[in-house]
């Protein structure tokens, strides 16, 4: 590459390209970080939402069962509440399973499903009148009145299932946060990766700028100063023009032309 103008153009173009690439890579990596963060937040939000839904459904079902079994109010309002909480529990357990199916915490999702089914089974038994039928059959068969009453059924059977499922929901909440921790570590790794290329690009740009300064000084500024001084010496003291520069570009041409001009004027 011979021309000074062309060299300058390429030099500045390289710096612009470096800036562009550093920016583009940074944007690309930041986009990835943003996407990962979004996914992470969504996963966290989803698991909290599921746990919230489950706890709320569990509480509704428990209230309804208490009213029906302990207080003795068998109005349709509580039956409907119980039915709806059962379907809510089922759907929440299925969602939890879908999320955790591929993780190492799949067992917790399985247990959650199992305890939900068990509790819903108990609630179904109550709603279908199976509990009453059991009490009646026991009372008919034995001369002594049975110990099984709706209240005792609640305390001995339903409440056990309720406590089991509550524990499982709280375990699900903890484990779902644990599944996020490798994701968080991956995210921090990605974040580091998004900064490194920019940092390296800037470092390379710094080196390029330093080289540009060195080359400009060494190959252009110094020869120009030398030509100028030599020409000044010739004009002032008639010292022979000798710039002593080894350039093959426009500066070399300038030196040659000055030499030609001087030799012509001497003639």
């Amino acid at each position: 590459m011979q021309g000074v103008a062309r060299r300058m153009r390429v030099a500045f173009l390289s710096i612009v390209m470096l800036l562009f690439f550093a920016g583009a890579t940074s944007l690309l990596e930041l986009e990835r970080v943003s996407h990962d963060t979004e996914q992470l937040l969504m996963a966290s939000e989803q698991s909290v939402e599921i746990a919230g839904d489950m706890l709320s459904a569990l509480s509704d079902q428990n209230d309804a069962i208490i009213y029906m079994a302990v207080v003795g109010d068998s109005s349709s309002r509580y039956r409907l509440e119980c039915e709806s909480s059962m379907s809510m529990l089922n759907s929440a357990a299925q969602r939890a399973y879908d999320i955790m199916a591929s993780s190492e915490y799949r067992g917790i999702a399985d247990s959650l499903g199992k305890y939900t089914r068990e509790l819903n089974q108990l609630a179904r038994e109550w709603l279908d009148g199976d509990v009453h039928r059991r009490i009646e059959s026991l009372n008919l068969n034995d001369s002594i009145p049975s110990l099984l009453t709706p209240r005792s059924w609640y305390v001995d059977e339903y409440k056990v299932g309720y406590i089991n499922l509550s524990k499982q929901v709280s375990q699900y909440m903890t484990s779902s946060q644990n599944t996020l921790s490798p994701e968080v570590s991956r995210l921090s790794h990605t974040a580091r990766r998004s900064v490194t290329p920019v940092f390296i690009s800037l470092l390379v740009m710094f080196v390029v700028v330093m080289m540009l300064y060195f080359f400009l000084k060494k190959l252009y500024v110094k020869p120009i100063l030398r030509i100028n001084r030599s020409l000044g010496d010739y004009l002032t003291y008639k010292v022979p023009f000798d710039s002593n520069i080894a350039c093959r570009d426009e500066l070399g041409e300038l030196r040659d032309r000055i030499e030609t001009l001087i030799s012509k004027s001497n003639k």
Binding site: M1, R7, V10, A11, S14, M17, L18, F21, T25, L28, H189, R192, R193, T196, P197, I200, S201, V204, V207, V208, M211, L212, F214, F215, K218, L219, C247, R248
Partner: protein, 481 residues
């Protein structure tokens, strides 16, 4: 010294490195656009800009002075090591700044030591780049830059003189153009043949190519955590042994053999000693392992012993067995092999067989001179009389090597390493072998060493690769006339 000229030639080396990074990005692309693609692409771009910039500004020099030639060689090596860290750093993972520097220096100096705990986790593009650094380093970063140059004229020979060790240079009787042909034909040819043979022996193309590059560069970088032991294939081991052995021989002699010249491997005294040393060490180690019931049969013992001896002597460092569990005799012999190493003018490091032969002859002649004080006794290798200057250089190098090894051992011990680890790590890094014994055994790595020792290892690797004096000169550039 014309700094801008030096920068121009280093720039050429960088452009060459950038092309290899681009090739590695291509490997990444082929392998389902793995996670190394963007890091390699960006690294290639940055390296290319760094390299092209001086090429745009500085005109080609007709003549290069010795001092400039030296600065180009050493500068290229150091800059290549720095630039080689970029793909690792951008990719991340286990690569911190120090780890990336270690892996890069280890690659370009063909040491093959690693800080990676899980090599197989790396994407293929990055594994290819890792092997490529060893391949480029194997023959010397500068050589490659010179090959791609259309015309260098006189400057070519000058750079070459600096690049090769003193003994290797003295052994050359070829013209500069021929030297380039030797390097290209022998090195590239050997790598291609090894790749094909490894493929035929049962490796996939990727493993075959990367292992061939490592074997011909005598570095020992593998794509598997268990190194060559992963394949558990005698045919693969045989091919690798062949490639490593050939890479440990003077490339000029290899070329002479291929072109049917008189000065070939069958006539070379140095090659005979090199082969004999490996044969004797293999048999003695095999006998020792068999007698201690480490392996069930003598053949099995010989298989592992010969592979390890060849691997260590040629400074490759591949492993098929945990040598930490071997007998003290086997360990001592392997340490001896890692000090002596291959022939001058090859890709191996260490003290070199040539120096051992010359030193032994000097000792023999000294004994003779004591018996016959007036006798005129000359020291010859391969029929060539070696001058006092060469002999003095050889002995000085041996002394410097031993002193450096001692100093290195002290530094390792200062930071808590046991004696075996300290001594073998020092020897292994100076000789560019890779594995040692103790904490850095054949199946271990340098990851557990403190940061300061990892940096110390990289310095020793560079000093060893630049043949000690080449490195020392770096600090006396101003006073060089």
């Amino acid at each position: 010294m014309r700094v801008h000229v030096v920068i121009r030639y280093i720039g050429m080396v960088l452009v060459f490195l950038a092309s290899f990074m681009l090739a590695a990005a291509g490997v990444s692309l082929i392998n389902n656009h793995d996670s190394a693609f963007y890091p390699l692409l960006l690294s290639s771009f940055l390296t290319a800009i760094l390299g092209l910039f001086p090429l745009i500004f500085v005109e080609r020099a007709e003549e290069i002075k010795t001092k400039e030639g030296y600065a180009i060689v050493v500068g290229s090596w150091l800059v290549a090591c720095v630039v080689g860290t970029i793909p690792y750093l951008i990719w991340g993972g286990e690569f911190t700044l120090v780890n990336a520097w270690f892996e890069s220096v280890s690659g370009f100096t063909t040491t093959g030591a690693s800080i990676l705990n899980d090599i197989e986790f790396l994407p293929r593009g990055l594994l290819f780049w890792r092997s490529a650094t060893t391949w480029i380093g194997g023959i010397g970063v500068v050589m490659f830059a010179l090959v791609i140059l259309p015309a260098l004229g006189r400057s070519r020979q000058l750079l070459y003189n600096v690049e090769l060790s003193t003994i290797a240079k003295d052994n050359f009787h070829y013209r500069s153009r021929e030297i380039m042909r030797i390097l290209i034909f022998v090195y590239v040819g050997l790598t291609l043949v090894t790749t094909v043979l490894l493929k035929l022996a049962g490796m996939c193309w990727f493993d075959a190519a990367t292992h061939a590059m490592s074997a011909c560069g005598t570095s020992g970088f593998s794509t598997k955590n268990a190194s060559v032991a992963f394949f558990d294939n005698p045919m693969i081991e045989l091919v690798m042994m062949g490639a490593m052995t050939v890479s440990g021989i003077h490339f000029g002699i290899l070329y002479a053999t291929l072109t049917g010249r008189k000065n070939n491997i069958f006539r070379s005294e140095i090659v005979r000693v090199y082969i004999a040393m490996m044969l004797i060490a293999s048999i003695v180690i095999a006998a020792s392992l068999f007698s201690e019931n480490i392996y069930p049969s003598f053949i099995e013992s010989l298989r592992h012993a010969s592979f390890q001896v060849v691997s260590i002597t040629t400074t490759s460092g591949f492993a098929t067995a945990d040598t930490n569990l071997w007998t003290p005799l086997a360990i001592i012999l392997l340490i001896f092999c890692s000090i002596i190493c291959g022939c001058a003018g090859s890709t191996s490091g260490g003290m070199k067989v040539d120096r051992l032969v010359l030193a032994l002859k000097v000792i023999r002649n000294r004994v003779k001179l004591q018996q016959h004080p007036n006798a005129i006794i000359t020291t010859k290798t391969d029929g060539m009389v070696q001058g006092d200057n060469v002999l003095s250089l050889v002995l000085t190098f041996i002394v410097a090597y031993l002193l450096l090894a001692l100093l290195g051992t002290i530094v390792y011990a200062m930071f808590g390493c046991d004696i075996m680890t300290s001594f073998t790590a020092s020897i292994s890094c100076i000789s560019n072998v890779g594995p040692g014994f103790g904490e850095i055994g054949s199946f271990d790595n340098y990851a557990d060493l403190p940061v300061i020792l990892r940096l110390n290892s990289t310095v020793l690797m560079l000093v060893g690769r630049l043949e000690i004096f080449g490195f020392i000169q770096l600090f006396f550039l101003r006073s060089w006339r």
